[in-house]
Subunit: 102 residues, 2 copies
DNA sequence: TTATAATATTAGATTTTTCTAATATCAAGT
DNA sequence: ACTTGATATTAGAAAAATCTAATATTATAA
């Protein structure tokens, strides 16, 4: 019974992990392919510290991962769930001209 | 360009709208079929005021709607997007024993 | 028309999130 | 060993979310 509460907590943590305008923009940018932190900063207009903190949160929730190449870290979406959700959201908010059924 | 920002805002608002443990439990309960507010309170253990406020937020985001029957309001999930997302989350957090790919 | 059951709204305190500024780390290149 | 470029972490202030308690609304039944 409080198994359900635990699951709700976990799901909530994950959803809140991606549910900020800035983190969504980061994910959107990464949806095009892996991006360095600097590229992500430019694409989203975020300050360095802010970008880094948002990426940390996305990492914590397992939504993204990175690979190092020299001094540069390349981030990308690493979870199927996140890809699926981003696809649904994109379809709903970015393609559906009249926002019925939101 | 700030079209993207506007969309990110809208998506964020929607996601935050469903991303609280209590609201997820409410949605989970409604996934079984429409429920009265009292039934939802019992199912989730929420206080009356709290349940009502959470339902208001879900309404605002268009995730749920209700129908009145006498004094009782019956709530249900009204958006395809919300149903799809709930299905993905259920699959990921409630069926996948080993939480790979979160 | 008044009492009551079912639900909504408001107010205020508490907690959580998010930003900026400052500082730290870490891996090259010199 | 130093310096520098790329990124991370910490601290603290400001903004947003959430709970409880109190009050209001609304539809029915007496």
């Amino acid at each position: 019974m409080n198994d359900m509460n635990d699951k709700a907590e976990a799901v909530s943590k994950y959803l809140k992990g991606i549910a900020s305008p800035h983190r969504l923009l980061l994910l959107c940018s990464m949806a095009e392919g892996e991006k360095s932190v600097t590229e992500l900063m430019e694409a989203t207009g975020l300050a360095q510290s802010s970008a880094s903190q948002h990426l940390a949160k996305l990492r914590e929730e397992g939504a993204v991962s990175y690979r190092r190449e020299h001094r540069t870290l390349y981030y990308s979406i690493s979870s199927k769930l996140t890809q699926d959700i981003m696809a649904l959201l994109y379809q709903e908010f970015c393609q559906n001209k009249e926002n019925i059924n939101v």
